[in-house]
Amino acid sequence: MLSIRACRKLEPDAKAVVMRITIHYVLAVVILTVYGGQV
């Protein structure tokens, strides 16, 4: 059983989620620019 403190420590905060989706979108732009638009 995880303690509440451990939960808070592990909990992905909103900033981390924003960073995650931003990285995904940047990668999407790169990949689609290089190849996606041409396939």
């Binding site: 059983m1 939960c7 992905p12 989620v17 732009v29 790169v30 689609l32 638009g37 396939v39």
Partner: protein, 486 residues
Amino acid sequence: MAELPPVKLGVNILAAYGTILILRRPLENRCVTSARAESQPIRQFIFDLLSGLSAGLLAALLNAVFFGFPPGSLLSLIYGSVTYSFFIALDMSLARERTVILEALARNSVQAPPQRLYSMTRRFTLVAVATALCVTVVNLLVIARDMSWLTTVGTDPGAIKAAILSVTYEVLFIMAVLLGLAINLIISYSRNLKLLFENETGVLERVTNGDLSQMVPVATRDEFGLIAGHTNTMIEGLRHRIELITALQLAEEVQRTLLPAAPPKVPGLDLSGTSIYCNETGGDYYDYILLPEGRMGIVVADVSGHGIDAALFMASARAFLLSGAERYQSPARLAGDVNRCVTRDGDPTGRFMSMFFLEIDSTAKTLRWVRAGHEPALVYSPGSANFQQLGGDGIAMGVLKNAEYKDYYRQGWEPGSVVVVGTDGITETRNAAGEFFGAERVRHIVSTNASRPAADIQTAVIDAVQRFRGEAPQEDDVTLVVVKLM
């Protein structure tokens, strides 16, 4: 199309994804995070898939307007966008699920099994099939485009070499992207599984160590949620059983107080008695009652059955007996009074009770008794080394309201005579082979220990009964009172 500089192509795609990224946060709050916790992961998946589709459509629209993209390239761009969005949606959905799990762990509130189950295996199959289809279609499109392009390369060895190198880089790039996405999903899913396993095993370890204070938060609607819910049901059941056991132990303590803590000191008599219950509570009872004119009353009773219901019946019968003893006249009158009360109370339950009541007048050296369906008492005379039964007629109590009881009388005894009154739990004790302890063994132990104090005789009989039973379970309560007449 192929000649379009990457920077120009990227501007429109960047503009499309940037727009969606800006709009994403408020829309996500409205569509995903405001929903119930258990439906947030699936909503997150749909939301990100649609966001990716919207970005792809917007990018295609911009490219069509500004660069005049042909329909085939537009569809390719949209398909590429949707495929990548599929992986984004999976990753974000797993992240959302992780958030939901952690919140549930922190709150520790939801504990019932999920009403509707979304099978983990079914979800896994769907995701695996969809992933395989996406990857296959991407590869087919790339191969088709490359094959078409290679036909235009010509026969120049330099151009062919450059084309082969270009295709190789392309394949490696696609493989690297797909591998990266797959690894990311595996890590994300593993983290969720780790959380769920730790959640379950942590509580089960506590339960194993006897700590039932923690429940497992039900964080998902899959098999993990089901296991967590059932674990909580099990913990509730264990808590309830422990409460019952505690209540039974308390009942045992209360019932122990109904039995005499120690025999009274009566001139001319050496008394000893004990009851050993087969459950926490029992239906056997014995007592010493001081009667008028210095006489001593010995009562041994046995309620049918054993356990908490028999104990309650015994407690009420004891109250009737002690109340009747206040107006004591004779054993038979007392038995009649108690029988009327017990019959009234016991009639709906069908319970009954056997009783042996012995009145000892150590001054006049007389024994007077009544037998209500109970085992006869034994009197051992050491001088003649023989046993006599204190028998007689009398029906068990609680059967007939107006049953009549009869006093039986005996005058005189040899000094050192031993009176033994017990319940059938002694003679009917069985060993592992199914043999009964029997009355003969009781007589033998009493005769060989007759010169010892009453407490020693009682201990000798009880020890012999327990040794005889061995590993076999105790099937009935055992009660024995020994009186040594001086």
